[in-house]
Structures are given as structure tokens and as C-alpha cells.
């Protein structure tokens, strides 16, 4: 037995700190919450306004123009019909709205941080363990502080999703920028590129495939987190899964689960096809 008298807790401090944050920065959190909520609502109502068959058509066309594969395009565009047949179309749109909002925020936060990590070795050294922690920490743990700061509902769901999903885009931005050929960078410097010009004209364009792979991974992670985030009021397909778990309704759970998988496949294929277009021409 570990000596009981040695017991030492930091839980109290963390609670105190969260409370202090909450009372001191009420206005800040309310403001942030408002911005995220209006972004989410706008995206959601925008997505809702589009008729279902437009989605099918859009998926078919984007897929065809990015990959030039007819078979793949047909399959990709037919898959979402299954979601509609399960009667889960509206919930799927709600899920996409949350994922999209989270991904937009993750990109806005992630790409600049990835650039900073690539530019400054010190920031990379500092950032790596934080990213490791973010990715290994059980995702349920994020729910508690975000819920305390923002209450129940969609905003904490989006934020918890961002925290969970942002590491890949940061990592792959950093990696992509660092992997740009030294020879090409040296040539750019020799012609008088400043540090900023080197980044803008050479490193970012050449790292684009890697950055987009990061966006793709972030999107997949966001989709996975959305189910968990439904526990604090995220809604959408995740809520359907949650209800099925509570009622031990395996069939209903599978329908929702399959729908999430379908969303993942379609989004994954579309973003990957898109990323290919950014690769520099080769032989």
C-alpha cells in the first residue's frame, strides 16, 4: 500500500484555477462563445438550405474533377443516400456543421502554429510535448473544463472537438515546411529571398500537399470526436449514438454509426483528391 499520509492532490488547485478563469474572464468567454455560436449557426443554416440532391451532385462533380475516376465518383455520391434512407439526413447535416466549424477554427489556429514550429526550433521543442499530451489525453477529459467554461451545448462541443482535432494539422504543417528540399531553399536564399519571402514563395507552396494531408487528418479526428462531444450537447449523429447506447438499441446505434462512417469516407476522399491538385508537377 502506498502510504496514505503521503497523498497529495492537485485536483483542488485545478478546480480553483478553472473557477478563477471563469469569474475573471466571463466577458471574454461569453464573447468567444458568441462568435463561435454565430459561426456555427451560419454554417448550419447555410448547409440546411441546400437541397439533398445538390449534395449528391456536388460530391459527384468534385470527385470527378479531382480524381477523374467515374466509378469512384458514382460510389461516393450514392453513399450519402443511405444516410437519407436511415432518416438521419438532418442529423448528419448538423454533424457536418459542427465538424466544419471545428475544422475552420482548427485550421485558423493550427497552420500559424505549425509555421511557428517550423521557423523556430525552440517553439518546436516546446510544442511537441504539448501536442503529444493533447493526443494521448483521453478525449473525455477535455469535456470537463470546456463544459465548465462554456456550459452545455454546441459551443463547448465545438471547442472540445478543436482541441482534439488540431494536432495533426499543426504537426503536418511543421513537417511539410521542414521537408522542403534544402537545395531549393538555398537557391531561393542565394537570389536574395528574405525569411518571409522564403516562407511565402517557396516553403508554404511546396509544403501544401503535407498541410492539406494535415487538414484531412484533422477533419477525420473532428468527425470521431463529434460522437463523444454529443455527451455535452453536441447533437447530431453523435446524439443518436448516445441515445442508442442508453437504450441498448444495437440496430439504431449501427445506423447512426454507419452514417458517421459514410460521412468520413466521403469527406476523406474528397479532401484527398483536392490535396493531389496541389502537388508540384513531376515527370
Amino acid at each position: 500500500m502506498f502510504p496514505e499520509t503521503w497523498e497529495f492532490h492537485i485536483a483542488g488547485w485545478i478546480n480553483d484555477f478553472t473557477n478563477w478563469l471563469l469569474t475573471t474572464f466571463t466577458a471574454f468567454f461569453d464573447g468567444l462563445s458568441g462568435i463561435i455560436l454565430s459561426l456555427l449557426l451560419n454554417i448550419h443554416s447555410g448547409l440546411e438550405a441546400i437541397p439533398w440532391w445538390v449534395y449528391i451532385l456536388a460530391i459527384a462533380l468534385t470527385s470527378y474533377f479531382t480524381t477523374k475516376k467515374i466509378g469512384l465518383s458514382v460510389v461516393l455520391s450514392l453513399l450519402p443516400i443511405a444516410v437519407g434512407l436511415f432518416g438521419l439526413w438532418d442529423l448528419a447535416i448538423e454533424t457536418i456543421a459542427i465538424v466544419l466549424t471545428a475544422v475552420v477554427i482548427a485550421i485558423l489556429v493550427g497552420i500559424p502554429n505549425g509555421v511557428l514550429m517550423a521557423e523556430f526550433n525552440r517553439i518546436e521543442g516546446l510544442g511537441r510535448p504539448i501536442l503529444d499530451a493533447m493526443q494521448t489525453m483521453p478525449s473525455f477529459v477535455y469535456l470537463i473544463p470546456t463544459m465548465m467554461l462554456f456550459g452545455l451545448g454546441k459551443v463547448p462541443a465545438v471547442l472540445a472537438t478543436v482541441v482534439y482535432a488540431v494536432p495533426p494539422v499543426i504537426r503536418l504543417t511543421n513537417l511539410g515546411l521542414r521537408q522542403v528540399s534544402q537545395e531549393v531553399q538555398e537557391a531561393a536564399l542565394a537570389y536574395g529571398a528574405t525569411r518571409f519571402q522564403l516562407l511565402k514563395e517557396v516553403r508554404i507552396p511546396l509544403a501544401m500537399p503535407s498541410i492539406l494531408a494535415g487538414v484531412n487528418q484533422t477533419t477525420m479526428m473532428a468527425l470521431a470526436m463529434v460522437v463523444i462531444a454529443s455527451m455535452i450537447g453536441g447533437g447530431g449523429l453523435g446524439y443518436e449514438v448516445l441515445v442508442s447506447i442508453n437504450r441498448i438499441d444495437v440496430g439504431r446505434g449501427f445506423e447512426a454509426g454507419i452514417s458517421v462512417v459514410i460521412l468520413a469516407i466521403v469527406i476523406d476522399r474528397l479532401t484527398q483528391g483536392f490535396a493531389k491538385r496541389f502537388e508540384p508537377p513531376s515527370n
Binding site: 538555398e186 531561393a188 537570389y191 511546396l206
Partner: protein, 292 residues
């Protein structure tokens, strides 16, 4: 009086320890550090000068420090000690902004593996330096097209480097170097990656280009034939040292040591041939010297 385009004095580049921890004044200590691989000396107390309009060749095998040397001139590699003067400017004492301006205007470099931007077209690659200088689009594109004509690549503007053969890519590299009309060209084994026939062709074109523009050319190669063919003067480099500096003729006739002698053993015939080809060239040089 001939003007010196490049003047290098006591240049050292030591990899490994920090600049201030290199005991340049204690040769014994330095050689001990080298033995224990704590320090690697790439350029060892090199001094030389290149006249304006001259083609100066540095010849050495791989690992001799020639690539480090050419990078020191542009400060792509930061020298450990010594001074570099190019075109009257003291490169070694420039601050960051001045260095950027110097790289944009005073010298341009051609790389062994071309160093072209794979995501930019041939036209954009040639005008890259002008783009960095914020030259208006129309002007820089006109200039780029003009240079593509000079290097014989008219009509290839819209292609990407990956669509071009090695020789053509290096022509793009040369056009890019000429774009801002710098007085000094630094060439780091520019033709080493090319097929022998193309290499020969490019060498001849370079000679023609030099006759037309009279730019100062600092040329690094591992190929003795190339050095003899192109160089007004050449330096033989080994282990970071200049073993011998002189005209190709001098080096062939009076090799400074066994190392150089072994190198030049069977090259004398080739040199006679090259001399015939360059007869006009040498007369021209003589004339410019008289005038100045």
C-alpha cells in the same frame, strides 16, 4: 591597374565547434580537434583574388571544400574567419538587409542540381530574382523571355522544370542567374550532372556568353578538362587548401606537388587543343589589360 572583382583573405570554415571556440591561432590544438573529429575544417586559410571579367576555376575532388568555399562567398555558409570582398563590397561585414540586397544585385549563383522551383513555370523561375526585388510583372516577364531566347529556350516559358531535360533545366538556371544582370556569376559544378555531349555544348555556350558579357565567373568543378577549357586561371584545392593557383598552362607545366602532378599527367595534349580554340579569347584579354 586591374580591378578586383573578388578578393578573399584568410578565409576559414570550420564545422563543429562554435565560431568563437575555434582555436585558429593555435594550430596544434586545432589539428588535435580535427583528429578527434571534434572539428572539421572545410576551408583552410584560403586567400585569392579574381580580376574583373576573368573566369576563375576552382578544381578539386569531392570533399576538398570547394562547395563550401563558393557558399561562403554568398554567405550561404557563414565563414569562421577571414574577409571576402566582392565588387568592392565587404561581404563578410554586411548585415542581414545589406546581404539580401547584395544577393539580389551583385552576384548570382548557378547550382549543380539546378535548384529550380518545381511549382513554378520556367518563366517564373527565370524571373524569380526579379520577383523578389518586386520588379513589376510586365517588366520581369519581358526580361525573362529575352533571357530564355539567349539560352535557347524560347517557347518553353509555360512548362514546369519537371518537363525539361537536365541540360534544359540548367539553361533555366543560367537564365535565372543572368536576370538581374549581376557583375559576378558563381557556378557550383553547373555541368557535372549532364551527359558528356551536352556538357561540352554548354561549356562552349558559356565561353560564348562570357565573351559577350565579360562577367566575372567563379567556377567550381571536379573535372580537370572542364577547368582547363574554361578557366583563365585556376586553383587546385585539396583538404580545404589551395594547393596551386595559376593559369592552366602553368599548372600543367609546373605542378606544385605530386598531387597536382598526378592529376595533370596526361592532360597536356588536351590543353594544346584548348589553347587553339581560345586563341581569340586570350588576345582580347591582353587588349583590355593594355587599356586599363
Amino acid at each position: 591597374m586591374t580591378q578586383q572583382a573578388i578578393e578573399v583573405k584568410g578565409l576559414w570554415k570550420v564545422y563543429g565547434p562554435k565560431k568563437e571556440n575555434v582555436p585558429l591561432d593555435q594550430p596544434d590544438k586545432l589539428s588535435k580537434m580535427e583528429e578527434s573529429r571534434e572539428a572539421v575544417v572545410a576551408v583552410r586559410d584560403v586567400s585569392f583574388s579574381v580580376n574583373a571579367g576573368e573566369v576563375f576555376v576552382v578544381m578539386g575532388l569531392s570533399g576538398s571544400g570547394k562547395s563550401t568555399l563558393i557558399r561562403c562567398l554568398m554567405r550561404l555558409v557563414e565563414p569562421t574567419a577571414g574577409t571576402i570582398k566582392m565588387n568592392g563590397e565587404e561581404v563578410t561585414s554586411l548585415n542581414n538587409q545589406e546581404l539580401t540586397q547584395f544577393r539580389r544585385n551583385s552576384a548570382a549563383m548557378v547550382f549543380q542540381h539546378y535548384g529550380l522551383l518545381p511549382h513554378r513555370t520556367v518563366l517564373e523561375n527565370v524571373s524569380f530574382g526579379l520577383n523578389l526585388k518586386k520588379v513589376p510583372r510586365k517588366e520581369r516577364e519581358e526580361r525573362a523571355i529575352e533571357l530564355l531566347n539567349t539560352v535557347g529556350l524560347d517557347g518553353w516559358e509555360a512548362y514546369y522544370p519537371a518537363n525539361l531535360s537536365g541540360g534544359m533545366q540548367q539553361r533555366v538556371g543560367i537564365a535565372r542567374a543572368l536576370a538581374s544582370d549581376p557583375p559576378i556569376l558563381l557556378m557550383d559544378e553547373p555541368f557535372s550532372g549532364l551527359d558528356p555531349l551536352i556538357r561540352r555544348e554548354m561549356q562552349e555556350e558559356m565561353v560564348a556568353l562570357h565573351e559577350k558579357t565579360h562577367k566575372t565567373i567563379f567556377f567550381v568543378t571536379h573535372d580537370l578538362d572542364e577547368g582547363i577549357r574554361l578557366g583563365d586561371r585556376m586553383a587546385v584545392m585539396r583538404d580545404g587548401l589551395f594547393v596551386q593557383v595559376g593559369t592552366p598552362e602553368e599548372i600543367l607545366e609546373n605542378p606544385a606537388d605530386d598531387y597536382v602532378a598526378r592529376f595533370v599527367e596526361d592532360k597536356k595534349e588536351l590543353f594544346q587543343e584548348a589553347k587553339k580554340e581560345h586563341g581569340d579569347d586570350e588576345n582580347r584579354e591582353g587588349m583590355t589589360e593594355d587599356v586599363s
